[in-house]
Amino acid sequence: MKRGLITWDKTELPPEVFQRRMEIARKVLGERQLPALVVYSDLWRSNQARYFANYMPYFNRALLILPVEGKPTLLCGLSPRTYRWIQSVTPIDDVRPAGNFAKPLGEIAAERGWTKVGVLDAEQLPYDLSEALQAGTVGLVNVESEAVFHPAKDEYEIAMRGKAAELVRAALAEELPFGVGKLDHEFVGRLERRLRMAGAEDLVILLTNGDGPPAPARARRLEAGYSISIALEYRGHWTRLTKTAGSDKLDSRLQVEERMDGSYPYEAL
């Protein structure tokens, strides 16, 4: 689960940013004659929903319902006891408890007269949820994420990822030389403490002495020339840096093409 600082600083990400993103999605929905877009989110697949609503279910699932007309709704698997926290991190006012998303989605659709809705990347929904939604009364139409989710064209998205990268760069500039001779998990612990203190929401740290690909810490002593790969999430924005101690050159053995606009930082192409 996420156990770093999950917060919403409105000077970094003003509410208008989310409004603008929702308007772009609404325009696409209008063109396709769809009354609403449904966006799934969970612990590790939260990027798209967060792009619109800044909410991520830290150990659960959620469904964002973004109508063309009217206010969006967030269906949450988490207990209403957490709603005060949820409402502190999202511009969405209408937060509802939902163990089974199909039933409340059907109710909202019935209330508003929707016979079909768009579903972001419908075929990538978890199988159990996909089956439950398909068994409901409202028709589902796939909306490919590329149509509405444009992180590379969004100045706020780029700026936030830049901050994430800067956190990693600053930490590595100071800490990298001290890794040699340490057990890998000791070094990881030092970095985790430092980066989480600086506001990292989540981290995935891999290391290698060059005798194999980077891997999670496994009680190996770091040798001169070791390499480290850090994926860091800052307020919902992932970045990833790989460095070799004592060298500014890229280690070609570490090079893997990955996408950074997907749901997780280690998505190889």
């Binding site: 600082l5 917060t7 207990s79 000791e186 194999g212 190889a268």
Partner: protein
């Protein structure tokens, strides 16, 4: 890396059900089905292990580094493909059962002709730990104790929740913990639960609650404790006494043959007797405990409407965590392993309301 005890269990399961192939699927959040057979903490988005009824093992990972790391220590057919959806077609054979099928992307499942879910059957096997897994849970519980002591030693007035979480995370990772499920809450009677850490700063008199759940070699253990900054008030002490008695009731009751619903009931009965029965409902609390293993929140959940007979080698936590108007949300619980005649508490931390001068 290969759990041979589980492999043998899975082969027996396949034979009894008539399955030709068993797939164990994992993604970045839920790696547990995959890790129950191939205990590697993959970091790419997806991985699947496929076991044939003749015992052949094939693995598909979505990140090349995962595949190479597994190849280094496991003799099996191991492949990698960033296009996991397309690569999965190779495993799409008839008469295949899938553990973790519900978690899979819908398009993955569509490749399989008449796929059957093996999730429940595999969960039921995983519910009972191997001797090696119990040893690992013991090590994880020890680290939970150490981590909680660090939590107590470090917490102070003026510190933010996320700073305390960072201190604990650094402490545990330094000692080789691979992951940690951690919730936190702080304040008084206005606090109704725990959540990820915020930037709220601790104040004198705060009740600081946490669930710490270090993961060691795949296995989670958990500890729940409450820390008061300053001497506990009468209400905080009175409230804690109820939690302490409820948890002890579960620990005294737990043994092979009892039903998990009664493990919940004996805890809730303590609250009812004290006039706080309504605070044992879903409005104020989630569960009265749960199984532990390769996932920190495994079935069965300890609830009065869950029908499941307890047996030896289950590892679970009994935690009567809930809100009470006396002192707000409070937590208390320990990891327990079911033995022949009762249960053993794996955590060794004092069973007390922790407090420190503020």
């Amino acid at each position: 890396m290969l759990n041979t005890s589980r492999r043998d269990q899975y082969l027996n399961l396949m034979a009894s059900r008539g399955w030709d192939h068993l797939l164990l699927y994992g993604h970045a959040w839920r790696k547990d089905f995959f890790r129950s057979l191939v205990n590697f903490s993959f970091f790419g988005p997806h991985a699947v292990a496929a076991l044939s009824k003749s015992g052949e093992l094939s693995i598909l990972a979505s990140h090349p580094w995962d595949a190479e790391n597994i190849k280094a220590t496991l003799d099996a057919d191991i492949t990698c493909n960033g296009d996991f959806n397309s690569a999965l077609k190779r495993f799409a054979r008839a008469n295949t059962a899938i553990a973790g099928m519900e978690l899979m992307e819908a398009r993955f499942v569509e490749h399989f002709p008449s796929a059957v879910s093996a999730t429940l059957a595999v969960e039921e096997l995983r519910r009972f730990k191997t001797p090696e897994e119990i040893d690992t849970a013991r090590r994880a519980a020890h680290l939970a104790d150490l981590g909680y002591q660090h939590f107590v030693d470090t917490a102070e007035v003026g510190m933010a929740e996320y700073e305390l979480a960072a201190e604990v995370e650094g402490f545990l990772k330094t000692r080789g913990v691979e992951h940690n499920f951690m919730l936190i809450g702080s304040g008084g009677t206005e606090v109704y639960g725990m959540k990820p850490p915020t930037d709220r700063r601790f104040q004198r008199g705060d009740s600081i609650t946490t669930e710490l759940s270090p993961q060691v070699d795949g296995c989670y253990a958990q500890i729940c404790r409450t820390l008061i900054l300053g001497e506990p008030s009468e209400n905080q002490s009175r409230s804690f006494a109820i939690f302490r008695e409820a948890q002890q009731a579960a620990e005294d009751f737990l043994k092979p043959g009892v039903n998990i619903m009664d493990v919940a009931r004996v805890q809730n009965d303590v609250f009812r007797r004290e006039g706080f029965g309504e605070y044992t409902t879903s409005k104020y609390t989630r569960v009265r405990g749960h199984n532990l293993g390769l996932h920190p929140d495994e079935n069965p959940y300890v609830l009065e409407d869950v029908d499941c007979v307890v047996d030896k080698d289950m590892v679970l936590i009994a935690h009567p965590n809930t809100y009470l108007p006396l002192a707000g949300y409070m937590v208390f619980g320990d990891t327990l392993v079911v033995t022949e005649t009762g249960c053993e508490r794996l955590n060794k931390s004092d069973k007390k309301l922790f407090w420190k001068e503020a």
